[in-house]
């Protein structure tokens, strides 16, 4: 995880990329593409939208890199670009997605089939809750903090919020997630999971 601390290697890559070094661009993008695609997938719940947004964010980053002043890490800067694209897309299309379990690829860890099914359903249930029960504002802060370990400061920079608003919204987002995950129709599923000796957590 690349945090606020910029690694010397990253600074070197950015400086080279700004001078037009294709290899340096590739190096920077390679480190971030899996992260960015997952972030967009978690925010949109839609594989096609996540794919489009990830590509658009990289194209925009490619074009704007010369204006990047290293005031934040490359990841923070790139995430800010991607989140703005996500917000614009959300405003334009107001997508009403229906999540499809088959569309969401589950990493194959060589599980037994029954474990794979439970794990797959859990992924679906979490995405469902994020997508349909947590509003965009709260989803953004929750995903950045709890799925990508961004610091409060990084989140403030990315979302353009004060530190105090970030903390308040994160807390609210967690309460909403808990309330919806436990209180929504996912409750039975959660209860099942928790009563298998928290088997869910070891999958």
């Amino acid at each position: 995880m690349i945090g606020m601390m910029r690694e010397p290697e990253e600074i070197t890559l950015i400086e080279k990329a700004k001078k037009g070094d294709e290899g340096a661009f590739n190096g920077l993008f390679e480190r971030e593409q899996k992260y960015l695609y997952n972030l967009m997938l978690q925010l949109t719940g839609d594989v096609a939208a996540a794919d489009d947004l990830t590509q658009d964010a990289f194209v925009k980053a490619y074009r704007k890199l010369s204006s990047f002043r290293l005031e934040a890490s490359f990841r923070t800067w790139l995430t800010k670009i991607a989140i703005n694209l996500f917000r614009n897309e959300h405003r334009k299309k107001a997508r009403h997605n229906t999540l499809n379990l088959d569309d969401y690829p589950i990493p194959d860890n060589g599980d037994q089939p029954e474990c794979l099914i439970i794990r797959s359903e859990l992924q679906f249930c979490i995405l469902h809750t994020l997508q349909f029960h947590v509003s965009k504002k709260y989803r953004e802060v929750l995903v950045l903090r709890d799925l990508h370990n961004m610091s409060y400061k990084e989140i403030s920079q990315i979302l353009g919020w004060s530190m105090s608003r970030t903390k308040t919204c994160l807390h609210r987002a967690r309460l909403i997630f808990r309330g919806q995950f436990v209180g929504s129709r996912c409750k039975a599923f959660t209860d099942d999971y928790l009563c298998i000796c928290e088997g869910i957590l070891s999958l």
């Binding site: 294709e22 661009f25 590739n26 993008f29 390679e30 593409q33 899996k34 992260y35 960015l36 695609y37 997952n38 997938l41 978690q42 594989v47 794919d51 990830t54 590509q55 990289f58 194209v59 980053a61 490619y62 074009r63 969401y104 690829p105 589950i106 990493p107 794990r119 859990l122 992924q123 979490i126 995405l127 929750l142 903090r145 709890d146 799925l147 409060y152 903390k167 994160l170 807390h171 967690r174 309460l175 997630f177 808990r178 995950f181 436990v182 959660t190 999971y193 928790l194 869910i200 957590l201 999958l203």
Partner: protein
């Protein structure tokens, strides 16, 4: 620290970002208040579940696509 103050700081408590003084006050409150303790634990449990969302591989290599688009190639 009372219950409403404690509730406002649950997130920071779980993230370990409270000051030393607030952390000690929170610990004392949670030890003496079963309702807040249960509330805080349930948030922690739901976050533990959220974090079970696995990362997937990106479906393609975006470096080439970005480079082509940037250079105006189709």
């Amino acid at each position: 620290m009372n219950c409403s103050e404690a509730k406002a700081f649950f997130s920071e408590h779980l993230d370990g970002t409270l000051s030393k003084k607030s952390r000690a006050a929170m610990r004392r409150h949670l030890e003496s208040c079963p309702n807040c303790r249960a509330d805080c634990e349930s948030i922690m449990k739901s976050l533990k579940i959220l974090k079970k969302l696995k990362e997937v591989d990106a479906p393609r290599d975006y470096r080439t696509a970005a480079s082509k688009k940037k250079n105006g190639k189709r």
